[in-house]
Each structure stands twice: as structure tokens, then as C-alpha cells.
Amino acid sequence: MADCYRLADCFFLSSLSEEWSLAKTEAMYFELPLILTDVGGARDIIEDNDIGILVPPAFSDPMEVSAANLWAYCTSEEPRNLDALAAALEDFYSRPDYWKAKAKAGRRKVLEKYTSAQAAAHHRRVFDGLAYSQYGR
């Protein structure tokens, strides 16, 4: 995977739904600009298009994608966000150096907030807090 992040210029996901997406966080660590649909953790890591471009999700309610409607959604040739996805690709293509420079902040964000050690420590703090009943009182 590291090789693939290294050879790429941009990380691009058009997902209908995600919980968090670790891959995009890994791409940040490799300083790749991101083009992501606004699902899962995308809006938590792209703030004002700082390290990439946030595109509206394909359907108004991405969390309601279910087994019954998934196939129709994911094979749709005309998703609602197609113009926005295409515009994001063109924006990136027209100024890759600009986006690459911006994406350097992605690695800093990972080091500051999104390492597995920090995630584990965060859980630990919350569990400890709960255990001492400091939470929820």
C-alpha cells in the first residue's frame, strides 16, 4: 500500500457510505491531496478544502443506503454529484502543484490527531473517565 500512496498524485474516493475510511487518513500521511465524498470521516479531516476537495455525497441520505437499494445506487451512470466530482477532478488537474503544497498539512494533521496510538490513548482516557464516573454526571 505504501508504494501505491507514493506513486499517486491524489487520493480520490467516490464512496456512497463510509464509517471513517482509514485509507484516506493513510493517504494524508503520504501528503496526497484528497478528493472525497462527504461521508464517513471526510468532513472531519477536510476543513474549508484545506487539504483537498469535499464533494457532496451521491444521494441525499448516504447513511440509508441499504442492501435493497445499493445496487441501483452504485451502478447509476448519473449520480447526483457527478458534476461536482468532475469539477473537483478538473480543479485538481489544473493546479496539481497548488494542491500538493496544500496537502503537506495532511501529514501534520495525522501526526497531531490521527495516529493509532492517539486513538488508543483517547479510548483509554474515555474509559478511565467513565470508570471514575466523571462522565455523564
Binding site: 500500500m1 487520493f11 493513510e26 461521508v39 451521491a58 483517547h122 467513565l130
Partner: protein, 274 residues
């Protein structure tokens, strides 16, 4: 012999369940068929799943025609051999991992002495219970979430979108949900930093001045790679150096086939690599 189009996952598993045995070079089948108690003859010299060969649920028969036929006939005619291959221990587990994980967490929280890496354990941890929830939401899970919310002090969501979902769709109180994102194991990448890359642009037939988009996600409908391909096709003429690399495990063979079709249908075989 009936050649068929790729099936989606559940019908495929059903077909496997109803078969006597499988002949395959697929890695997934080597894991899945033993879970259904079905032998697999693997048309390879080597496999990256040696556990199944050792356990005896899978047999490597190579690509020699006579060997494949004789092993196949043996399974059909030699009842003892067939039963032996179906009854051996499945090295990939018994499908009860979730229960064991829940038990492990529960025992960890209730132990009188906690593992050293956890540091001193607050006494109150003994009264703490953790419920793990995730996956597609059926009516039964909705009810479970409602009950869990009733007794939970705190919910942990992995992203703000997931938090919004639980609050808006399941009526969970906003101030009871905390967002703790997943984190990158940076040590894993740092360890590889000085090493010669195994995958290069040249290997993927990409030029050094190509502008490469990477889509790293399992090949499954929720990842909607077809939308990425359609967007790419929209701008393809105006962005001649643009390339798209789709990288991911096949989670749904039917969707993976649909992705190939979309690449061909949109005339992008030279620009979208899959």
C-alpha cells in the same frame, strides 16, 4: 457444464453450499468452502493459505489435467475420502468470533488483575460494559440500538457523520455521543520508508508525468467506483494526462465485473487501471 455470469455474494455462497466440492484457483473460496464443510481442489502449485492444506480441507492439485480429474473422481467415488475432507477442522474459525471478542472484552473489564499494559485498573471498570455495534441496520439492530441507548452512559462514534446518523436516525442524544476517529499505524509505514518499492509507476504502465488518482477501496457497491469512472470520463478529454488507479480487494465479484464493464464501456481501458 454451464458457464455463468459472476454472481453476487449470497447466491454464490448458496451455490457453494449446495455443491459437492469446488475446483478453484480463488483464494477466497479456499477459506469459504471449508466453512461450509465443502472440500476444495485448488488448481495451483502453491497457495498463500497453507493452513487449509495442512488442515486437509483443501488439496493442491496443480494444473495437470489427469491429476485434476483423478482427484475429482476420487472425491465423488471414495466416500471415506470425501467425508474425511468435509469433517476436518476448519482452520479459519467457526463463525463465532464476535461472541468471543465480546467475551474477551467483558472478561478484561471484570478481571481482578488487569494486563500490565493497561496500567492500574480503576475499581469502577468492573461495572463497565461495552457494546459493539456496526454493520447494516435491520429492524432487530434498530431495537438493539434503542435498548443500548437506554442503558449507555456514552456512545463512541468513529466520525462526525456517524454521530449525526445515530442522533438523527436513532434518536440518540447528541451529548451522549463522542467522536473518536480511527488512527494510522504510522510505525508500519515508517518501517518501510527506506525500502525499494515493489509497486512502481512503470509496473502499472504509468508515465512519470501522468497525473495519477488513487482509489484505494474494496471493490464493493458502497465504494461506488463506477461514479469515479463516470466523473473521470467526463473530464478525460480535457485532462489528457489524468490516470485513475483502482486498488482494492474484490468484496463483491458482481460489482467488480460491473466496474470492468464500465471501464470498457466508457473507452477508458488505457487510462483507468484496475
Amino acid at each position: 457444464m454451464h458457464p455463468i455470469e459472476p454472481l453476487s455474494y449470497v447466491p454464490f455462497v448458496d451455490l457453494m453450499r449446495r455443491s459437492a466440492f469446488s475446483i478453484a484457483d480463488s483464494g477466497g473460496i479456499q477459506e469459504e468452502a471449508p466453512s461450509l464443510g465443502k472440500p476444495v481442489l485448488v488448481l495451483r502449485q502453491k497457495t498463500e493459505r497453507p493452513e487449509a492444506v495442512e488442515a486437509g480441507t483443501v488439496k493442491l492439485v496443480g494444473t495437470d489435467e489427469e491429476r485434476i480429474v483423478s482427484e475429482g473422481v476420487r472425491l465423488l467415488e471414495d466416500r471415506d475420502e470425501y467425508i474425511r475432507m468435509t469433517r476436518v477442522h476448519n482452520p479459519y474459525g467457526d463463525g463465532r468470533a464476535c461472541g468471543r471478542i465480546a467475551e474477551a472484552i467483558s472478561s478484561l473489564l471484570n478481571r481482578s488483575t488487569s494486563p500490565a499494559e493497561f496500567g492500574p485498573r480503576p475499581q469502577a471498570l468492573a461495572e463497565m460494559r461495552v457494546i459493539l455495534a456496526g454493520g447494516p441496520v435491520s429492524g432487530r439492530i434498530r431495537e438493539a440500538i434503542r435498548r443500548a441507548d437506554f442503558c449507555a452512559k456514552l456512545h463512541i462514534a468513529v466520525s462526525s457523520n456517524v454521530k449525526t446518523y445515530f442522533c438523527e436516525k436513532h434518536g440518540v442524544q447528541t451529548d451522549k455521543v463522542m467522536v473518536i476517529p480511527n488512527g494510522v499505524n504510522i510505525a508500519k509505514f515508517d518501517k518501510l520508508a527506506g525500502e525499494e518499492p515493489l509497486v512502481t509507476r512503470a509496473l502499472l504502465r504509468l508515465a512519470s508525468d501522468d497525473i495519477v488518482l488513487l482509489n484505494a477501496a474494496s471493490l464493493h457497491g458502497t465504494k461506488a467506483q463506477i461514479h469515479a469512472i463516470k466523473a473521470f470520463q467526463r473530464v478525460a478529454a480535457r485532462c489528457p494526462k489524468l490516470r485513475l488507479v483502482l486498488l482494492g480487494a474484490v468484496a463483491d465479484p458482481a460489482y467488480a465485473a460491473e466496474i470492468s464493464r464500465a471501464i470498457e464501456h466508457n473507452g477508458l481501458v488505457d487510462r483507468v487501471f484496475y
